[in-house]
């Protein structure tokens, strides 16, 4: 379902809980699908004894992927023209994340209506783990 410019206002927002109690297994699943086998994400022994972290942590791209699901659920499939994020804090097993998109601007570019979104994903402590922007095509 695509969004219509006529039904959207600056300040409108949409949010979803994108993961509840993130599992190490899902991180492994993402490693396999994406091809990023960095052991800091999956190898408890390596990450604690060599890399010096308290435990494994999620790929930033897993958080970006799960957040992208919220974005496409909001704007519709095949509508994104831009999606960019900054990873602001690590995501750990057991985290519960909520992703939110807020309408920052609705504009017209060569006759095509576009929406600019501000995106924030926070963990269970309300700490932002990802911030970003997206732009999507709208119906009139």
């Amino acid at each position: 379902m695509a969004l219509s410019a006529s039904q959207l206002n600056v300040g409108d927002s949409y949010s979803e809980q994108i993961v509840d109690d993130l599992t190490r297994t899902q991180i492994v699943q993402y490693a396999g699908a994406s091809g990023d086998y960095n052991p800091v994400h999956t190898d408890e022994k390596f990450v604690t004894e060599v890399a010096g972290y308290p435990t494994v942590f999620a790929h930033g791209m897993l958080t970006m992927g799960m957040t992208g699901r919220m974005v496409t659920n909001f704007v519709g499939d095949g509508r994104l023209t831009y999606y960019g994020v900054r990873f602001t804090s690590q995501v750990w097993p057991g985290d519960t994340l909520t992703a939110k998109a807020e309408v920052a601007d609705i504009r017209d570019e060569d006759g095509q209506k576009l929406v600019d979104l501000t995106i924030t994903t926070t963990n269970q402590d309300d700490r932002p783990v990802l911030t970003g922007q997206a732009t999507a095509r709208l119906d009139d």
Partner: protein
């Protein structure tokens, strides 16, 4: 890092969508997808990153003929283990020498941006061109000196048309960040 052939396949899209917990049938059901605006299965927005699967030299994938820096009999199979026991100056030098063997995995992903010229679908066969972008340093209380580097990757199709432009920013931190 260039990928010469990145075939976009339905099974890979399905696996990728599952890994991000996305059950949208646009990623798995050709009949459903045929009835939508896009008209076929497409790939999720961050799927392009999995082109790593098709980079023969990708350093974050174990290879049968090379030592892997993850744990086996010991906590790390490579030099990284020795680095953790070495003095500061040596670590910096050896880190520079050891990028390929995995010491560079001390780097973290700071930013990722995708510009979509169109969306990927099964049957696309892409190739990539990557070039270095800006480099900069920042001082941080939590992590010491942060060294940022930017890489821009163009995903092009068989007609050499630009499909996705990706920009990644990596950061190497002086100290471990554990929040």
């Amino acid at each position: 890092m260039a990928v010469e052939r990145f075939p976009v396949e339905a099974s890979h899209i399905l696996m990728f969508a599952r890994s991000i917990g996305d059950t949208n049938p646009i990623y798995s059901d050709p009949e459903y997808a045929a009835g939508t605006e896009v008209g076929s299965i497409i790939a999720p927005p961050t799927f392009a990153q999995s082109s790593a699967q098709f980079d023969p030299d990708y350093f974050l994938r174990p290879k049968p003929d090379k030592k892997w820096f993850g744990s086996g009999r010991t906590a790390s199979g490579t030099l990284v283990r020795d680095l953790s026991e070495a003095d500061g100056d040596d670590v910096a030098d050896e880190r520079e020498d050891d990028k390929q063997s995995g010491a560079a995995a001390g780097g973290l992903h700071a930013e990722q941006h995708f510009t979509y010229h169109r969306h990927l679908k099964p049957g696309d066969v892409l190739h990539t061109v990557t070039y270095d972008g800006e480099r900069w340093e920042k001082q941080s209380k939590r992590a010491g000196i942060l060294k940022f580097s930017e890489a821009v990757t163009e995903y092009r199709d068989e007609d050499d048309e630009l499909v996705i432009t990706a920009k990644g920013v990596g950061v190497v931190t002086e100290k471990v960040i554990d929040n």
